[in-house]
């Protein structure tokens, strides 16, 4: 596509964001992990791109794709921010099919001229080129959960497979998921209260899946299951997950996702608790 590359090169100077990568799946997979709302806010700095999705002012997901994942990554301004339709972006990124034949890669070049301009995608696979022009929108403010590591009460690192099964079998008739983390038994317990009764799932502190466990005092928090369920998308893709709660009961789930080239990206979920439970009850 010599014509196309030339065209791109001439216009390079006016772009405030240019990113290229040889395998579009290294980018699209991480975005799929946070695709539970139509719209996303993209925030690019020289370190990489952060894509944020929110729901009901109660849950926020952030996907971080570091600059190293891209073969070329240039941000001409301090930071570039825009809002985009994530569903359309994902459809465009996977235009050549979601499951390509092994050994074939779709290359991507992504350019953005700045405020009010469309996001341009140039995708190429086997000599076929697709050009996408996606209109961007005015960014709206994103939530600040003020989740600060000094306020963290408990922190667990699990291998994702341990949580994957639990999440896929959650009793969806339960409105909430109750998370008990305590320095003594049951250590880490997931409970649901559904139509068919309640169920509890305990992870002992010393099981193989548990990579680390820190908890100073018992905490019981409830989260809306409907808000947590979308995080399963990230869980399925990840190899490790860090679960943290702070003194207000806010939950942070951090998923570590390895791409096809072995590079690591992160997806964060923040969720606010459903209601407070007095500690005496637990």
């Amino acid at each position: 596509m010599p014509l196309l590359t030339q065209h791109v090169r001439d216009e390079n100077r006016q772009y405030c964001l240019v990113a290229s990568l040889d395998n579009v799946r290294n980018f699209s997979t991480v975005l799929k992990a946070i695709h539970f709302q139509e719209h996303a806010t993209c925030f690019a700095t020289k370190n990489g791109i952060k894509v944020t999705v929110e729901n009901a002012k109660c849950v926020q997901a952030n996907a971080f794709i570091q600059a190293e994942v891209f073969q070329e990554f240039r941000v001409e301004e301090e930071s570039v921010i825009f809002r985009i339709n994530l569903t359309i972006l994902l459809d465009c990124l996977s235009i050549f099919g979601s499951n390509p034949m092994p050994g074939t890669f779709t290359a991507l070049r992504m350019c953005y001229q700045g405020h009010g301009q469309p996001l341009m995608l140039f995708l190429e696979e086997g000599g076929v080129v697709t050009v996408c022009k996606i209109n961007t929108q005015e960014p709206v403010g994103t939530l600040d959960f003020d989740f600060c590591s000094t306020n963290v009460i408990s922190k667990i690192i699990l291998q994702s497979e341990g949580l994957r099964e639990a999440f896929s079998e959650l009793d969806m008739t339960s409105e909430i998921l109750q998370m008990t983390i305590s320095p003594d038994r049951p250590y880490f317990r997931l409970s649901t209260f559904g139509n068919a009764g309640s169920s509890h799932l305990d992870y002992p502190k010393d099981c193989d899946l548990m990579e680390s466990f820190h908890c100073n005092h018992t905490q019981v928090n409830r989260y809306k299951l409907s808000l947590l369920k979308p995080s399963t998308k990230a869980l399925v893709l990840s190899c490790k997950v860090s679960i943290r709660t702070d003194n207000r009961g806010f939950l942070s789930l951090q998923y570590m996702i390895k791409n096809e080239d072995g590079q690591i990206s992160f997806v964060d979920y923040y969720c606010c608790p459903d209601e407070d439970i007095p500690e005496s009850e637990s």
């Binding site: 339709n85 235009i95 979601s98 000599g127 076929v128 697709t130 996408c132």
Partner: protein, 282 residues
Amino acid sequence: MKFRAKIVDAACLNHFTRVSNMIAKLARTCTLRISPEKLNFILWDRQPSGGASTWCELEQENFFSEFQMEGVSAENNVIYLELTSENLSRALKTAQNARTLKIKLTNKHFPCLTVSIELLSVSNSSRIVTHDIPIKVIPRKLWKDLQEPSVPDADVSIYLPVLKTMKSVLEKMKNISNHLVIEANLNGELNLKVETELVCVTTHFRDLGNPPLASDDASLDRDPAEMVAVLVDIRKLLPFLAGQQVNPTKALCNVVAGRMVHLDVLHEDVSLQCFIPALALA
């Protein structure tokens, strides 16, 4: 009216099964046209606005070892039947590893296409499975609706790209819009384009090659790079591509600017033609 045919060759039987599977994927009901030389499966999408139609043509001698037919009269030596395409493909499912397959027009309380399959068995005793597929004989006064659509001289005739790539591109485009612009020129370039208020996606195929046009004089005074466009409903085109199980021997796309797209696909000795009328260009 008589019809009786027999397949004994395993390869022919497999091929015939594949054709009927493809037909079943394309439409719920089909018209079977039987003439002394050919079998045609005709698929009509009956819509007042002028639906798409697909013609599948098989030379009878490439499939059948015996083939006898007698049409309505000596001068109109053809039979038109209507049947549910899935019934035929389901009947042929039993015919895998069959020794022979016989198809016969019968009247058992109601008109039927009787498919009898002689199965191989370990012992000498032969087993015969018989399917009676209910049919409707189409009276002569309706034949005129079932004539092969005539193709006006194409403005551009171009070979199609790998159908799998084209299919996955169109599947994603369908999520964006149902209105597809097909553009092609005499330089072997084909563009597929969808556009909405939010996004514009164009896939460019190059170096596809053009077969020589029927009317040479028309191509002489035309710029080969000039694009000829037609707007079609993506949902009419997709089933046709989805029905293709293997890559065809030849796949051709004829564009009549603003009027229709004619796809002509040849699988060894089965010819498949699809006529898609244009939507009014916006």
